[in-house]
């Protein structure tokens, strides 16, 4: 009955809206609407309700669903971590509730029990959640930063961070957005050039000497350098505003990150929900001897919900936007004692990988080279088609050198508590996952892998976003991959995943 009521409500509102919007045109066809939309929907609702049944056994909730394809879902009470009761006015009127059963598996609620008497709902909560209701009391210990901060980012570090990162584009994008609204571009640019030339100080005058090619090229270079400097300046400003006074503190069991000049953010990182930690050193980071650390947390539904709208699920947050690369490992250790990126013994991936990666580039470059040669041959440019060979003869050795570096620096490590994977050149990223946080472990083989007896190993974690470095070890010998897989399985089997 409640499904039916819900369906009626879901249908009536848009229908009314449509009728109002079409100013009565549709009104004449209301009978059709009734016939083809509302009646089938009601029938569907009634049938669905007949079909959707649930039952409580001593250890699990069993939900049956489906008319043609029948489905029986078994949900252990031990796995239910939230029973949300939802009551709209009709529910309240009748003294019932809808219970949403949620487990750690993401996405939709695992079961939706539509009409549950309040006693039954309470009983369900008691059985399902058991004694686990007590930890929710921790919310009272708010705003009590106990220890000394784990990390504080002073302004000069934020300046460095601004230089390292490319966030200036965010500001530029905003500026361009505003400017394009003001029609500022619609002006005579040659006049701007002339006025600039008229006002240029004596020492810069030579840049504007008309007719001089060198002058124009130099002017271009100066403008580009200016633009880069401006971008970096914007970037620095952005970081200073956004991450001013970034402070990471230990708060009871959790971490609290506080930052911001204008909008002050205070975000809690529940340590026990950290699934994966990544230490990144980009090329520019390396130049400054710095690193950044981010963590992926799961179950922070407010956070994941926030980013899901943009299509890119980002469950990552910064543990440290910038930190001295010598201190990064110590900071990770302090937060997650099981993970020590300095004390692990790295094992390499297969050196044969170089050839495979280079092969891919060869396959990509060949048609481009042929195209280039064809263009040179048939175009008025006074160069023969053979000059097209310059492309591969430059690109391929460079690719080969870079790939060799990349493969040599990629690697994995296993300790008795966690798995590590590192990759990247000229920057580098190291990710680590504790065994308790692993979900399924998988080995993948593409047809090419198969031909060369190689495979990759992937570790799945909860709340993994769609961006960022993770444990996905490519180009392993297939036997090595099998043994890693088995080892990981044994480790996961013997540990319990906790929220």
């Amino acid at each position: 009955m409640f499904i039916a009521a819900g369906t009626v409500r879901a249908l009536v509102l848009p229908a009314v809206g449509a009728i109002v919007a079409s100013r009565g045109v549709l009104l004449a066809r209301l009978d059709l609407l009734l016939l083809f939309v509302i009646v089938p929907a009601l029938v569907y609702a009634f049938v669905r309700q007949k079909v959707y049944t649930y039952r409580f056994t001593e250890s699990e909730l069993v939900v049956r669903d489906g008319l043609l394809t029948r489905n029986v879902r078994h949900i252990s009470y031990a796995r239910i971590h939230n029973v949300a009761l939802v009551r709209n006015p009709i529910h309240r009127l009748l003294g019932v509730a809808t219970a949403r059963i949620e487990t750690a598996a993401g996405g939709k609620p695992e079961a939706l029990l539509r009409v549950l008497s309040l006693e039954a709902a309470d009983e369900l909560r008691r059985t399902a959640l058991g004694e686990e209701q007590t930890p929710s009391a921790t919310g009272s210990a708010e705003m009590r930063p106990t220890d000394a901060p784990l990390l504080q980012v002073p302004d000069r570090e934020l300046v460095r961070l601004g230089l390292i990162s490319n966030r200036g584009f965010i500001v530029i994008a905003a500026v361009v957005g505003v400017v394009s609204q003001l029609n500022w571009w619609d002006q005579d640019w040659s006049r701007v050039y002339e006025s600039l030339r008229a006002r240029a100080p004596d020492w810069a005058g030579w840049l504007f000497e008309s007719g001089s090619l060198t002058g124009r090229v130099l002017l271009g270079i100066v403008l580009i350098l200016l633009a880069i400097a401006l971008l970096r300046l914007f970037s620095i400003t952005w970081y200073l505003v956004r991450y001013r006074n970034f402070t990471l503190r230990q708060k009871d069991e959790d971490l609290r990150a506080e930052y911001g000049l204008l909008t002050q953010v205070s975000s809690v990182i529940p340590v026990h929900r950290i699934q994966l930690v990544t230490v990144s050193v980009s090329f520019l980071h390396r130049c400054f001897g710095r690193a950044s650390i981010d963590v992926e947390t799961a179950g922070a539904s407010d956070l994941s919900g926030q980013f899901a709208a943009s299509g890119v699920l980002n469950t990552r947050q910064w543990l440290a936007p910038i930190v001295d690369s010598g201190r990064a490992a110590a900071l990770v250790r302090k937060v997650l004692p099981e993970i020590d990126i300095e004390a692990v013994e790295w094992k390499p991936i297969e050196a044969r990988a170089v050839r495979r990666i280079v092969n891919r580039v060869v396959i990509a470059v060949t048609p481009v080279t042929i195209g280039l040669a064809a263009v040179l041959t048939f175009s008025p440019i006074p160069l023969s088609g053979w000059h097209g060979l310059w492309l591969p003869s430059v690109v391929l050795p460079m690719t080969w050198l870079a790939t060799r570096r990349w493969v040599r620096r990629a690697g994995y490590a296993l300790t008795d508590r966690a798995i590590y994977f590192r990759s990247g050149w000229p920057g580098r990223q190291i990710s680590a996952v504790r065994f308790v946080n692993m979900q399924t472990v998988a080995m993948h083989q593409s047809p090419f892998d198969h031909r060369r007896r190689m495979a990759s190993v992937a570790v799945d974690t909860a709340g993994a976003g769609s961006v960022g470095h993770r444990i996905l070890i490519p180009f392993l010998d297939v036997d090595v991959a099998e043994s890693i897989l088995h080892r990981l399985y044994v480790e996961t089997r013997s540990t319990e995943f906790r929220w």
């Binding site: 029986v72 949900i75 031990a78």
Partner: protein
């Protein structure tokens, strides 16, 4: 209801522990037949649609006869290939699909061109789905879907299991058992 009812009372003769043998198994060979029935019954009507359209076009005089016969032959060939694929593919796939059950979890090995081996430890199982489509039901087969808290491996299905095996596997993968054992 002929599908799974209680966790304890439904199983006939073989001892419940017998699926937990650490050996690789194939799923029920009848699943090939099920997949063929579904595959052919979906591809055949779909592949017939262009054929029908072309014939209508020809009958109405929109398409000249020689073109029509060429098109018809081409489409017929395409249809034959599609149906052949729908018929052959399930067997190839079945050949490469293996599962293994041990005390701690389930391993599935599958894939013809892109191969994949995945281990699902019982300690990470959130809940299981046991489902039967109409065709599966008539053959006494079922699909088991295991849900974990993961992301890429959030739900992993194993189709074409014999009903009794699926039921026992479902029982075996109940997470509280693993918890008790610790």
């Amino acid at each position: 209801m002929d599908d799974r009812d209680q966790t304890s009372n439904s199983d006939p003769a073989p001892a419940p522990a017998s699926i937990v043998d650490g050996q690789e198994h194939r799923v029920d060979p009848r699943s090939v037949k099920v997949a063929r029935i579904i595959g052919v019954s979906v591809t055949l009507p779909l592949a017939l649609i262009p054929l029908i359209f072309v014939t209508i076009g020809w009958a109405l005089g929109g398409i000249p006869s020689p073109v029509y016969f060429a098109l018809f032959a081409g489409l017929l060939l395409l249809l034959a290939l599609l149906v052949l694929f729908a018929y052959r593919w399930p067997a190839v796939r079945h050949e490469r699909l293996r599962y293994l059950v041990d005390e701690g979890g389930l391993r599935i090995r599958r894939g013809v061109f892109w191969r994949k081996v995945v281990w699902i430890p019982i300690s990470r199982v959130q809940h299981t789905d046991f489902s039967q489509g109409p065709v599966q039901r008539s053959f006494g087969l079922a699909t088991l879907t295991v849900h974990t808290a993961g992301t890429a491996g959030a739900s992993i299905s194993l189709g074409g299991l014999e009903h009794g095996i699926a039921t026992r596997l479902c029982d075996h993968l109940r997470p509280d058992r693993a918890t008790d054992a610790d």
